[in-house]
């Protein structure tokens, strides 16, 4: 016990460590163990079988769900990155007054603290068959019949992802941009670079880690999502998360656990690539 009195850090960090141990490490270990179990309609049967994985990895449903999920992840990532970068760039380099800058920044981040489900639902009166977009377009005679793919489609899913997660890009990229020495931008312009050259050869490399942090958030949130996909696609699209969720509701826990382990490995591989670009402690 001597190290406890010598360094109070151990005592101070205990609550955090306990939460991580009890509600992160144990549950993940449980998932890994249960993924090798057998099950029937009523109960889980402790065992060591590979059938859950065998079924999962040879099923065409899994393959198409992964392809769909990667499609959602890459598309949402590209759009949130472009949009988030533009917004952050505007806030960081075009707004001179620090007060206005803070106000606009808060304006961009407030929705993060409100309900995601409500924010998804709120697209329904806009995009539905008789929604505002369709009725407006019909009124001005741009279309004859309502556009069906606005709601309950892949379009709606990606729109919702962009709506929900762009601020995960704005915040870290803005944070990186605010640390850029303004003289570098002026030097670049003085040296004859065009505005676009300055952005892509000076600003982008200097906010590489902000971009990486935002990307980590967006990609992992989309990869593990099930609620946005099922709500906004109206059950028409199946992502990896939706498959796991379906198995959970059928009480096929070992199958769901195997699905979760494969998802976890996929996400970890993607993270290990993205974490190469940053030193997270330096960012704070």
């Amino acid at each position: 016990m001597r190290f406890l009195t010598a360094n109070p850090s151990y005592l101070q960090v205990t609550p955090l460590a306990l939460v991580i141990l009890l509600f992160l490490l144990f549950p993940v270990a449980t998932i890994v163990i249960v993924s090798f179990w057998d099950y029937n309609a009523y109960q889980l049967l402790p065992d060591f079988i590979f059938e859950n994985y065998e079924f999962l990895l040879t099923s065409s449903v899994t393959l198409s769900a992964y392809l769909k999920t990667f499609f959602f992840a890459i598309t949402s990532w590209l759009i949130t990155l472009t949009l988030g970068f533009t917004v952050a760039y505007y806030l960081a380099f075009y707004i001179r007054s620090p007060l206005l800058q803070s106000v606009l920044f808060v304006l961009c981040t407030v929705p993060f603290l409100t309900s995601n489900i409500i924010r998804m639902i709120s697209w329904i009166p806009l995009l539905g068959r008789n929604g505002l977009v369709n009725s407006t377009l019909q009124e001005i005679n741009l279309i004859d019949a309502p556009i069906e793919w606005l709601l309950y489609s892949d379009f709606a899913v990606i729109l919702a992802f962009v709506h929900l997660y762009t601020l995960f890009m704005v915040v870290p990229i803005f944070n990186s941009m605010m640390r850029i020495d303004r003289n570098l931008i002026e030097a670049s312009i003085d040296a004859g670079a065009s505005a676009f050259q300055t952005i892509f050869q000076v600003v982008v490399p200097l906010c590489k880690s902000g971009i990486a942090i935002g990307s980590i958030f967006v990609v992992t949130l989309v990869m593990g999502d099930f609620i946005t996909v099922s709500l906004m696609s109206g059950g028409l699209s199946a992502s990896v998360g939706v498959l796991i969720r379906n198995e959970i509701s059928l009480l096929q826990y070992p199958a769901a656990a195997a699905g979760a382990v494969v998802l976890l490995i996929t996400v970890l591989i993607m993270l290990s690539i993205m974490f190469r670009f940053i030193n997270i402690k330096k960012e704070l």
């Binding site: 603290l113 409100t114 976890l264």
Partner: protein
């Protein structure tokens, strides 16, 4: 900054301002739409046009048989949010203090906390659900969901605390100790007031993230729903603007909390500036 520089930047100013304004409309427009639609008349539907104006759907919310267990789920969400908020604030403050010294395993724990933040929520939800099932505990919003929420709020709290202590000027503390303050006095009278604004921010995150959390609650809430679960249930079986009324109320509630937190942060900073006009 020099004037010619400003003239050069004006080039992109107008298109970028337009993009920014459109982005803000994109962020808030849909929510504003359901806020308007929640005032539909009694015969109004889920979309425009408005069929008169009324508070009909807000009244419906409080008639229990109409929309499930709205009152109960709201109470549970608020209680859970408060508990998560308090634990997030205390635990991340303690951990933030701990990380000012290096200690064994510190790096591992830090990275695990990050993993906790970015691990797909469905994994946490499923894992805690099965774990409770296996050890023979029945999941509850006050036990398993509480833990699940902490895995989401604590990383944010810890990251904010890291940001605070990275910028913290240690000479204030050194001065207090030089003047004979005990370590508790130093913390209570010097460190705590300095980090109070950030701590209010941690509280705001802790409460609102828990109050709105869905994915990590799904398999961990047990028999009784929290508010987001109740709302999700409503999306499949409620086809009246009562859903929008609920959405509007809960969004208003979040906005109120955010404003209260921002105002108190501002007030703390202002009173400090008044007390010590020369310090930064």
């Amino acid at each position: 900054m020099a004037a010619p520089d400003k003239a050069k930047r004006k080039a992109g100013f107008i298109p970028l301002t337009i993009i920014f304004v459109l982005f803000i409309i994109f962020l808030y427009g849909p929510t504003a739409t359901i806020a308007i639609l929640s005032f539909q008349g009694p015969d109004g539907g889920l979309t425009f046009p408005m069929n008169g104006m009324s508070l009909h759907w807000f009244r419906q919310l409080f008639e229990e048989q109409q929309v499930g267990d709205f009152g109960g789920s709201l109470t549970r969400s608020i209680l859970l949010g408060i508990a998560v908020m308090l634990c997030t604030a205390v635990f991340s403050l303690l951990a933030g203090l701990a990380y000012r010294r290096s200690f064994m395993g510190g790096n591992v724990l830090f990275y695990l906390t990050l993993v906790s933040l970015i691990l797909p929520s469905i994994l946490i939800s499923l894992g805690i659900g099965i774990m409770f099932d296996r050890i023979g505990l029945s999941p509850g919003w006050y036990s398993s969901a509480f833990g699940a929420h902490l895995t989401w709020t604590l990383p944010f709290g810890l990251l904010i605390m890291f940001a605070v202590f990275n910028r913290f000027n240690k000479s204030y503390e050194a001065a207090a100790i030089d003047m004979g303050a005990t370590s508790w006095q130093t913390f209570r009278l010097v460190v705590f007031p300095l980090i109070l604004p950030s701590l209010i921010g941690v509280c705001l995150f802790g409460f609102t993230l828990s109050y709105d959390e869905f994915a990590r609650t799904l398999m961990t809430a047990g028999t009784f729903n929290t508010l987001p679960l109740e709302i999700y249930g409503m999306t499949t079986n409620v086809t009246t603007p009562v859903l929008y009324a609920l959405g509007t109320l809960t969004t208003l509630f979040s906005f109120t909390l955010i404003s209260a937190a921002l105002i108190s942060i501002w007030a703390v900073r202002k009173s400090r500036a008044r007390k010590a006009p020369t310090s930064a």
